[in-house]
C-alpha cells in the first residue's frame, strides 16, 4: 500500500493573529507551527492502511520553504517513511496554484491512495484536495468520516447536512479527511528519534499565476461587551424578558 499524504504547516490554533501595518497579511513572526489538524487524520489513515497491508510506504508531500522540514518531521515521527517538499520562494497561497504544484509532482510519484486533510485552518479554503483530484482525474471524495479499503476499492462515507453519503471508489483515489475518521497517534520517543534520519527530498516547482488577489486584511467586528444577567435560577425571568423584549428572539 503506497499512500501519499499532502499536508500543510499551519500556525498553532491558539496563535494570536496580528495583521501587518500594510494590511496585506498577518505578521508571521511569533507563530509556532503545527501539522494542520485535519492533516493529522490523513496521516493516521495512511499509517493504518500501511499497517493493515503489512507492506508499503507513507510519503508526506508539502509545498513551501525549507522551514517546513521541522513540521514534516513531526509527521514522520508519527510514522511516515519519508517526505517530499516542493520548494517555492514566494507565492500567495492561491489554492489552484498549490493544487497545480502538487499535481505536477504527484504525476512523477507512485501511489495507491492520496490523502489530504479536508481543510487548513488558516486560509479556510478546503479546495486543494478536490482540485488535485480533478487535475489528476482521480476518483475523489472529500471530508470522509469513515474508510474501508479492500481489494483495490475504498468504501467511504462523508457527512452532509442531515445524513451521510456513501461512496465506493476504485483505487488509486484521492480522499480528504474529516475529524472523527480516526484518533491520530502521538509520536513515540523512538518515532521522534527515527524521524531525524528519515529523508526529506527537495524538489522544485513552477508557480503559475494566481487567479485571485487578496486586497485588504481586517479584524472582524468585535462583539459588544456582554452582560451577566444574574446568578442561578433567580436570573431566569430576567433572561427570558431580555430575550423577548430586547433580542426579540422568543
Amino acid at each position: 500500500m503506497k499512500a501519499i499524504v499532502c499536508m500543510k504547516q499551519v500556525p498553532d490554533t491558539e496563535s494570536r493573529i496580528t495583521i501587518n501595518p500594510e494590511k496585506t497579511g498577518v505578521e508571521q513572526g511569533d507563530f509556532s507551527y503545527i501539522i494542520g489538524p485535519y492533516d493529522e487524520y490523513a496521516i493516521e489513515a495512511a499509517l493504518q492502511l500501511k499497517e493493515a497491508a503489512g507492506e508499503g510506504e507513507v510519503v508526506l508531500l508539502s509545498v513551501g520553504d525549507p522551514s517546513i522540514k521541522s513540521t514534516l518531521q513531526k509527521g514522520m515521527a508519527m510514522g511516515a517513511d519519508r517526505s517530499v517538499l516542493i520548494e517555492v520562494d514566494s507565492y500567495n497561497g492561491d489554492a489552484l496554484t498549490t493544487a497545480r504544484l502538487l499535481a505536477a509532482q504527484l504525476k512523477t510519484m507512485e501511489y495507491d491512495i492520496i490523502f489530504f486533510g479536508k481543510q487548513a485552518p488558516d486560509d479556510n479554503n478546503a479546495q486543494v484536495g478536490p482540485m488535485v483530484g480533478q487535475l489528476l482525474g482521480l476518483p475523489t471524495v472529500t471530508a470522509i468520516a469513515a474508510l474501508e479499503v479492500q481489494e483495490g476499492k475504498a468504501v467511504v462515507e462523508r457527512e452532509v447536512e442531515g445524513g451521510r453519503e456513501v461512496y465506493e471508489v476504485t483505487l488509486p483515489a484521492l480522499l480528504t479527511t474529516e475529524k472523527g475518521l480516526n484518533e491520530p497517534r502521538y509520536p513515540s520517543l523512538k518515532g521522534i528519534m527515527q524521524a531525524k534520519r528519515k529523508p526529506v527530498d527537495l524538489v522544485s516547482g513552477e508557480v503559475a499565476a494566481a487567479t485571485t488577489e487578496q486586497l485588504t486584511w481586517s479584524y472582524p467586528p468585535s462583539r459588544a461587551e456582554g452582560k451577566i444577567v444574574g446568578e442561578g435560577t433567580a436570573a431566569v425571568p430576567e433572561l427570558v424578558r431580555l430575550l423577548k423584549e430586547e433580542a426579540k428572539v422568543l
Partner: protein, 315 residues
C-alpha cells in the same frame, strides 16, 4: 452580455432552504452589475419558488449520469454551462455539497474559488468577496484576477429576501452521459432527520459541564421548545457524549444561528471560532471567569442543571 450563474441545491426534488440565500445574493449582484441572472438546478426539482426571489430564468439539468450526486460529473456539467452561458460569476453555497463541488469546478475552469464569503461587493463591475480566515480571527477581501470568479457563500451570512414575484422561464436540458469517477451509492439519512447545525436558527450547546451523554436530555427539551437543535463542544464530542456532527468550532461546524445557548462550555478560542457570529449568545456557566461570558450577550452564572430546567419552564 455576461451572466451570473447561481447553482441552487436541492434534495428529494425540492430546493434546499439555503437556495434562498444564494438566490438573494445573486439577484442583488445581477442588478448592481446589470448582468443576466441564471439559476441552475440539477435533477427534477420544483422551481415554483424561484419567482419570489426575482429569478426570471432557470436551467434544469437532468438525465445523463446526474441522478445521484457525483462531484466530478456535476462539476463537468456546470463547467459546460459556465461556458455556454458566458458566465463571469458563479455563486453557490459553502455547504458540504458546495465545498465539494466548487473546487472541482474551479480546477476545470482554471480559477481558485473565493470560498466561504460572508459578503459580496460590487467594485466597478468586479465582484469582491470578504472571507473569514484563521478561524474567524481575521478576514480578507479577495478579488478575482481573471475573467471568471466562483464564490461560495457561508451559510446564514446572506439574509434571504422575497421580492415582488416575477415569472420564471425554466429551460430543461439533458446532460451528456459522463462516467462518474466517484458517485454517491447510498445516502444514509441521520436518525431523527433533524435540521443541520449550520442551518438551525436556534442551537442549544452543551460542553464538558454536561458530565455525560444522558444529561443532554434537558438540552434536547429546551432545543425542541425553541425549534432548535443541540450542539456540543469538542470536549463533549471527544468524551463520546455526542456525535462528531454535533461539534461546533474550529474542527467542527461554523454556525450562525439567531440564538446560541452555551451550557457548561468554557469558551475556548477554538469553540468561539465556530459560533461567535451567532446573532445572540446566551451563556450558562458556573464559573464567572469563563471566557464564554466575554462573547455572550446574556450570561447566567450558575449550575446549568438548575438554570436550564428553569429556563425551559419559563418559556
Amino acid at each position: 452580455m455576461s451572466s451570473i450563474l447561481i447553482y441552487l441545491e436541492s434534495h428529494d426534488g425540492k430546493l434546499k432552504s439555503n437556495a434562498a440565500e444564494v438566490a438573494t445574493a445573486g439577484r442583488k449582484l445581477a442588478t448592481a452589475q446589470q448582468k443576466e441572472l441564471v439559476a441552475v438546478v440539477i435533477g427534477e426539482v420544483a422551481t415554483d419558488e424561484l419567482g419570489n426571489w426575482g429569478i426570471s430564468r432557470a436551467i434544469r439539468l437532468s438525465g445523463g449520469n446526474l441522478a445521484d450526486y457525483s462531484g466530478d460529473v456535476w462539476a463537468a456539467e456546470l463547467a459546460q454551462l459556465v461556458s455556454d452561458q458566458q458566465a463571469d460569476t458563479v455563486l453557490m453555497m459553502a455547504s458540504s455539497q458546495g465545498r465539494d463541488l466548487s473546487p472541482r469546478l474551479g480546477a476545470l475552469t482554471g480559477v481558485t474559488v473565493i470560498a466561504d464569503v460572508i459578503s459580496l461587493e460590487n467594485q466597478d463591475g468586479t465582484t469582491v468577496g470578504l472571507r473569514p480566515v484563521f478561524a474567524n480571527k481575521a478576514q480578507v477581501l479577495v478579488r478575482p484576477t481573471g475573467e471568471l470568479a466562483i464564490f461560495t457563500l457561508r451559510p446564514k451570512a446572506f439574509t434571504p429576501e422575497v421580492v415582488e414575484a416575477v415569472a420564471t422561464t425554466v429551460e430543461s436540458r439533458s446532460a451528456a452521459a459522463l462516467d462518474a469517477l466517484a458517485i454517491v451509492r447510498e445516502l444514509a439519512v441521520a436518525a431523527g432527520a433533524k435540521i443541520d447545525l449550520t442551518e438551525a436558527d436556534v442551537i442549544v450547546s452543551g460542553g464538558r459541564g454536561m458530565g455525560g451523554s444522558e444529561k443532554y436530555d434537558i438540552l434536547e427539551q429546551l432545543a425542541e421548545k425553541l425549534g432548535g437543535v443541540v450542539g456540543a463542544s469538542r470536549a463533549a464530542v471527544d468524551a463520546g457524549w455526542r456525535p462528531h456532527s454535533d461539534q461546533v468550532g474550529q474542527t467542527g461546524k461554523t454556525v450562525a444561528p439567531t440564538l446560541y445557548i452555551a451550557c457548561g462550555i468554557s469558551g475556548a478560542i477554538q469553540h468561539l471560532a465556530g459560533m461567535s457570529s451567532s446573532r445572540f449568545i446566551v451563556a450558562i456557566n458556573k464559573d464567572p471567569e469563563a471566557p464564554i461570558f466575554k462573547v455572550a450577550d446574556y450570561g447566567i452564572v450558575g449550575n446549568l442543571f438548575e438554570v436550564v430546567p428553569a429556563l425551559n419552564s419559563a418559556i
